[in-house]
């Protein structure tokens, strides 16, 4: 009989998620270097360099970490284990890494062939991953879980499919001149909107329903809020898409404002819960998570301003605040919790004595990297208004992600060293 995904065989090997976690910061470094050498590319969201950076960050950093983490947590939060996790990780990781690199290069240099090949490889990798995830969710637990997470995960996957479909269509437009039924900027907005809200925000929220109360020891999110939030986001995205296709201007603006309010509502409730955490001495990743929520709130405000202003800098500033500040901040905070725990878990499951989590990754390097992260967000915001500072902001961004990479690598090495030198865990009952 197929059980829910709780057995040790359902825990993917360490290398399956870790390859995504270690590759992701490299794309952050690439985004920083693009900014260093790309000149004044933050003057508009439509410069080739800005498009390249957006994809290096969203598909290279965010998506890599998100898929790596999903491989690991789907058995835990949804009782859904992926079949053959190493194969899925291997194929998806290679296809996405090459695809994102090609896509960003094609966008940045205006090379249609590379852009198309990159987009095809990225979408192919995603399709492979999503098929496996769908299989896992279908054969997973059908027990009516008491959290909204499994349902919201499905909605996030649907959001990712729509994002990828718009992305592929746009690549065909740019790469081979296919015509779209809507103007190009509209299709780009829909691609970004579904990616930010339909996929990334719904996934983040679905994760938060579980992770924030449990790991930050807060009260639960209000039930009605978690019941309605993801369907409201997805429903509003559908209405917005219809409004864009039929050029209904009033409905279009109303839908965008509604999406902004939904995003702000999630951030505000999360901040409220965190402010009342029973853990009165928050650790550094927790503070980074809070900072990310403030950045997201500011991003929503700027996005609303951009609806009534033609200035080029508002959309760029909103992108910086939401992508780097909001999503980047929460993802970094979660990585600092996930990776040391995975290292500990795999050592323990192998019957070895594992160093505790703060020995695998001490607080000090985390704190320092997060200080650079704050400086990086601040310098990006300044560079939006003072374009000549973009290379400097790029440098800080590259340092931020280089440091993140070094910190993550430190955990992987600490695990390897512990596995070499450790004896069996005292009193261990775990099987080797």
């Amino acid at each position: 009989m197929m059980g829910p995904g709780l057995s040790y065989e359902d825990t993917p090997p360490f290398s399956a998620p870790v390859r995504f976690f270690l590759t992701a910061p490299l794309f952050g470094i690439a985004a920083g270097l693009t900014l260093v050498f790309g000149g004044e590319i933050l003057v508009s969201r439509w410069t080739p360099g800005a498009l390249a950076i957006a994809h290096l960050f969203a598909a290279g950093f965010m998506l890599q970490v998100m898929l790596g983490a999903l491989l690991q947590v789907m058995p835990v939060v949804a009782g859904a284990s992926m079949p053959a996790p190493l194969l899925i990780a291997g194929v998806t990781h290679v296809a996405m890494t090459l695809g994102t690199a090609g896509l960003a290069f094609g966008l940045g240099t205006g090379t249609p062939g590379v852009l198309l090949a990159g987009a095809a490889s990225l979408v192919g990798g995603l399709a492979f991953f999503l098929s496996a995830a769908a299989l896992g969710l279908r054969r997973g637990s059908k027990t009516g879980s008491n959290t909204r997470t499994p349902r919201d995960l499905r909605m996030a996957f649907a959001g990712l499919v729509v994002t990828a479909a718009f992305g592929l269509a746009l690549a065909l437009v740019l790469g081979s001149g296919v015509a779209l039924p809507v103007p190009l900027p509209t299709a780009v907005n829909l691609h970004a909107g579904w990616g930010w809200m339909g996929w990334a925000a719904v996934l983040l929220a679905a994760t938060s329903w579980v992770v924030v109360p449990m790991f930050q020891i807060t009260a639960a999110y209000p039930q009605r809020f978690t019941l309605l939030w993801a369907p409201a986001v997805t429903g509003t995205l559908v209405l917005w898409t219809i409004a864009e296709f039929f050029a209904l201007d009033g409905a279009r603006i109303a839908a965008i404002i509604a999406l902004g309010l939904l995003g702000a509502g999630y951030a505000a409730i999360t901040l409220y819960l965190q402010a009342h955490s029973r853990r009165s001495k928050p650790d550094t990743p927790f503070l980074a998570f809070r900072q990310a929520m403030y950045a997201a709130l500011a991003g929503v405000l700027v996005l609303v301003i951009s609806l009534w202003s033609d200035a080029d800098y508002w959309p760029i500033l909103a992108g910086v605040l939401i992508l780097h500040g909001g999503f980047g901040g929460t993802i970094t905070a979660m990585l600092y919790k996930i990776l040391p725990f995975l290292a500990w878990l795999h050592l323990t499951q192998a019957g070895l004595k594992a160093p505790n989590m703060k020995k695998l990754l001490p607080d000090t390097p985390i704190r320092r990297q997060l200080h650079v992260r704050t400086a990086s967000l601040a310098s990006l915001c300044v560079a939006v208004f003072v374009p000549m500072l973009a290379p400097l902001a790029g440098l800080v961004l590259a340092v931020e992600f280089g440091w993140l990479f070094a910190n993550l690598l430190r955990v992987v090495r600490a695990r390897r060293d512990a596995a070499r030198s450790a004896g069996p865990r005292p009193g261990s009952h775990a099987s080797a």
Binding site: P4, Y8, V77, A78, T147, M214, R278
Partner: protein, 152 residues
């Protein structure tokens, strides 16, 4: 009537509350109070584990026919958490704040991912597989176990 999910989830949160108190007292260097809080936490945690291992997991195994799958993993995670709790106690005895913080962080994450599995898979399966009467009997028995262990 409380469902199994409600009863056990509530006990998880109770344990979290005592854990957080021990962690804070230790980080303040108040080792005497931290020792009391840690003892209270250890009692609550062991009572919870004992109730599951002696009553709730057997009920799950009987209701689902799965004797080697999820419950075997949950029992093994209980053993890991008991080991980490011993390491936490050792750090407290040495009054080593860094070690205590590191072991506490490890135990917290171990505990929460374990709770996540129980709350999203094990308890809901009991809620749906057992009849109302069976659920009531199991709730009473587990509740009695938890209360007696806490009172002891």
């Amino acid at each position: 009537m409380n469902t199994i999910s409600e009863l056990m989830t509530h006990d998880h949160r109770d344990c979290d509350g005592i854990f957080v108190r021990a962690e804070e007292l230790a980080s303040d260097g108040d080792w005497a109070e931290a020792a009391d809080a840690l003892k209270q936490f250890a009692d609550a945690l062991n009572a919870h584990f004992d109730a599951e291992e002696s009553t709730l997991f057997p009920a799950f195994e009987q209701a689902t026919g799965m004797t080697q799958g999820p419950t075997a993993v949950m029992r093994s995670e209980h053993r890991n958490m008991r080991d980490t709790l011993a390491a936490l106690q050792y750090a407290l005895d040495k009054q080593d704040a860094d070690d205590f913080a590191g072991e506490a962080e490890t135990l917290l994450i171990m505990m929460q991912q374990h709770n996540m599995k129980e709350e999203s898979v094990i308890y809901p399966m009991l809620d749906t597989r057992l009849s109302g009467e069976e659920q009531q009997r199991l709730s009473d028995s587990v509740g009695k176990h938890l209360t007696e262990a806490r009172a002891a």
